[in-house]
């Protein structure tokens, strides 16, 4: 049926050609359907903007028109001496992505701080584990402020000729391609319309692209919030160790910013978070010092068992690292740097659909316990850039599922285990039930002594 129809149309060739030319014309330029782009990126947060500049610089995608839509206005970035309270820990994989797309140069010109070790300890069992060499030779992550990451990516994105960025462009509605059509239709709140071959949803954990894709999404609330602040130590020192200590209410982390400043991410219950924001600065500093170094009620059985285990490890000649350091005393908190953010867990069962894909927090949201949240998103960016480049270099269309599914399977293979490990850690540490505390105390000591296992954990975090 369809064939005979098609052939009929085709046979009145001249007329048909004219008709089709017009159709294409409409598709590309008329106000009715809006202008057409090969790729539309919805959401210009850290992940969306980085994706835009990475794709814009991909040589094999040179002839593709890309549009980046961001709801908020374009805030000019002003360099200030004051550190922002939102910082991210970028792993070596992300660092490589930023070197490849050129954005690292901007960060390097301004400021970042290298972390060479990560000390994780458990307040209840007083056991600890160290990631990174004790000689402090390897870089395990780079601390950069969120808005500097965003500015660096924006700066590079603006250099791409085939990329258009629209700020203040909040999307109202998406209509994704179905069996009969090959393009997505996008409508902004101001009435502007666009069509595209490939829609990339980078619109955060509340993604409307994900909703339009109608994929299954598993999510739950952690009943936890993150309290952030910029902290000042009483003296200057080689601040290159990130400390994370598990308290019964959640982990508290100190992430180095300079030789006297660290950024605080304190995950705790919403009630406790509210209280921490309400108390005076002096009281807040005292609370942090207690949380980071202070003693916690420890069950005597747990302590006995962990020290016995320690002796056993030593007997087996895989003793624990005694170079464990504690952070120095915190003197003050930067005025006005205290804030709190809600946490949650979420994962889309599919990242792709005909003509669309999810990237970053839109696809997965994790507890920032391991500082992995946005690194997973940047890992998505690197992978999608490779997959799309290969697809186009192999003569495929951008929306070809045969290629997009490589992105989905590669990323899910990486993201799901990482998310489960982080979620598992979170659950494991969110209790003070003695047998569990004992187990995790032994666990921390064992992982500490077992170099190869740590290597695996580090490698997983690096991509």
């Amino acid at each position: 049926m369809i064939i005979s129809k098609l052939i009929k149309i085709n046979n009145s060739s001249a007329l048909h050609r004219l008709k089709y030319k017009n159709l294409n014309f409409i598709r590309c330029f008329s106000d009715e359907a809006g202008s057409h782009f090969d790729i539309v990126i919805a959401g210009g947060g850290m992940v969306g903007t980085t994706l835009a500049c990475t794709l814009g610089k991909n040589k094999t995608l040179n002839n593709k028109k890309i549009l980046l839509l961001e709801a908020s206005v374009n805030k000019p970035w002003i360099k200030s001496d004051k550190y922002s309270n939102r910082v991210v820990s970028l792993n070596p994989g992300t660092h490589k992505l930023f070197e490849d797309n050129g954005a690292w140069a901007f960060i390097e010109q301004h400021r970042f701080h290298i972390v060479k070790r990560l000390e994780v300890s458990d307040a209840l069992s007083e056991t600890s584990i160290t990631f990174g060499k004790s000689e402090h030779t390897d870089t395990i992550s780079y601390m950069v402020e969120n808005d500097l990451v965003l500015e660096a990516a924006k700066n590079e994105a603006q250099k791409c000729n085939n990329l258009k960025i629209l700020y203040g462009a909040k999307v109202k509605n998406y209509v994704l391609p179905d069996y009969h059509s090959d393009v997505s239709n996008i409508e902004l709140e101001n009435g502007e319309k666009f069509t595209c071959d490939l829609l990339l949803g980078c619109d955060g954990y509340n993604s409307s692209v994900r909703k339009a894709m109608q994929v299954d999404y598993v999510s739950w609330n952690h009943n936890q919030m993150g309290v952030v602040a910029t902290l000042k130590f009483s003296n200057k020192f080689d601040n290159e160790i990130a400390f994370q200590r598990f308290l019964p209410t959640g982990p508290v982390a100190l992430l180095p910013l300079t030789d006297e400043l660290s950024s605080l991410v304190w995950s705790t219950t919403p009630q406790e978070a509210k209280r921490l924001l309400g108390i005076s600065e002096e009281e807040f500093v005292a609370e942090i010092n207690k949380a980071v170094c202070g003693p916690w009620k420890q069950s005597s059985t747990v302590l006995q068992a962990t020290s016995a285990f320690d002796t056993l490890l030593r007997a087996l000649n895989c003793s624990r690292d005694h170079s464990r350091k504690r952070p120095p005393k915190i003197e003050s908190v930067e005025p006005g740097s205290r804030a709190a953010f809600p946490y949650g867990f979420g994962h889309a069962s599919q990242y792709i659909r005909k003509g669309a894909a999810l990237v970053g927090d839109a696809a997965h949201r994790i507890h920032p316990l391991a500082g992995q949240g946005v690194n997973l998103g940047f890992g998505d960016v690197a992978c999608l850039n490779k997959v799309l480049g290969e697809a186009v270099y192999s003569g495929s269309t951008l929306s070809d599922l045969n290629h997009l599914k490589d992105y989905e399977s590669a990323r899910q293979k990486h993201n799901v285990p990482t998310m489960l490990a982080v979620e598992g850690l979170h659950r494991l540490y969110n209790t003070d039930f003695a047998p569990v505390v004992l187990l995790r105390g032994l666990g921390l000591q064992a992982t500490h002594a077992l170099e190869p296992l740590k290597k695996i954990i580090m490698a997983q975090g690096a991509v």
């Binding site: 064939i3 089709y20 270099y393 192999s394 495929s396």
Partner: protein, 277 residues
């Protein structure tokens, strides 16, 4: 193109005459398929998925032959400026991919509705591809040594008289031009998995699509091409995972394989070399 519209009957008769290598039964069957041709998850999904192997095969083959200019390697149009003839192009799944890489593609097929469908789809996607309803024997008469490369993907196993078909292909190829083919081997594995199981158990392709008698061994194919002085550069096995709809390269050529052969620069010198050997 115009000719076939004005005198379709004449051409059809010609096509089915014993002079050409096309089998009329084969064409009737393909007509059934055209409706769903462009659904990448539809009945022809193995062919759509095969592009992930055969397009890089052509692209890298031509790069390795040194016909792709340096600035075009790793660009968005690596095949810019090269002319390719896609024999048995069907609805244009391979032709369109090659055209997107910048090649000037001519696609020929003996099935008029496939050609119509191909034209329609290319127009819709803003691709300029020269689709012709003709046979390779017919086409070769007026297009001697015209193309940088010829692709005949999943075609030779449908051709009864393979030698004249290949002779005609070689005729169209420029000196130093490349011939790329993919097809099925004549083995018990093909008969059991790719034909019997695919057609009768898994319903992957319509019954009667392939016949084992018409399949050809790589050595046999190589021999016919050698008769035409073509030098075989590479033969690679291909494996289709029907559960994931993915193709991958593999060592054994037991079921599917690809072949890349190159026409000599000068026929005379090549012949001498062969004689010395």
């Amino acid at each position: 193109m115009k000719l076939c519209r004005r005198f379709p009957m004449k051409l059809q008769q010609k096509m089915f005459s014993s002079k050409t290598t096309i089998d009329p039964q084969e064409i009737a069957l393909f007509e059934k398929l055209t409706a769903n041709w462009w659904d990448s998850q539809g009945p022809l999904k193995p062919l759509h998925a095969m592009n992930t192997l055969r397009v890089p095969l052509v692209r890298n083959g031509l790069i390795n032959q040194g016909v792709v200019s340096k600035e075009n390697i790793y660009s968005c149009t690596p095949l810019k400026g090269l002319s390719i003839l896609d024999v048995g192009c069907g609805g244009g799944i391979l032709s369109e991919a090659l055209a997107r890489l910048g090649a000037q593609v001519t696609g020929i097929d003996a099935n008029p509705s496939a050609i119509d469908l191909a034209k329609h789809h290319a127009l819709k996607n803003n691709l300029s591809i020269n689709y012709l309803f003709t046979s390779i024997e017919e086409h070769a008469m007026e297009n001697i040594e015209k193309y940088d490369a010829i692709t005949a993907s999943e075609v030779i196993e449908h051709v009864t008289n393979k030698e004249p078909f290949l002779d005609a292909c070689v005729e169209c190829l420029k000196p130093s031009g490349s011939m790329f083919m993919t097809t099925m081997n004549k083995t018990i594995f093909t008969e059991v998995f790719a034909i019997y199981a695919a057609e009768n158990i898994f319903d992957l392709i319509p019954k009667g699509t392939h016949q084992i008698e018409k399949c050809i061994e790589p050595e046999q194919l190589q021999r016919i091409l050698e008769k035409n002085y073509l030098q075989t550069k590479e033969i690679r096995g291909m494996f289709y995972n029907f559960l994931t709809n993915e193709w991958c390269w593999c060592l054994p050529t037991w079921i599917s394989y690809s072949l890349h052969a190159v026409k000599p620069k000068e026929r005379g010198r090549f012949l001498q070399k062969q004689l010395i050997k």
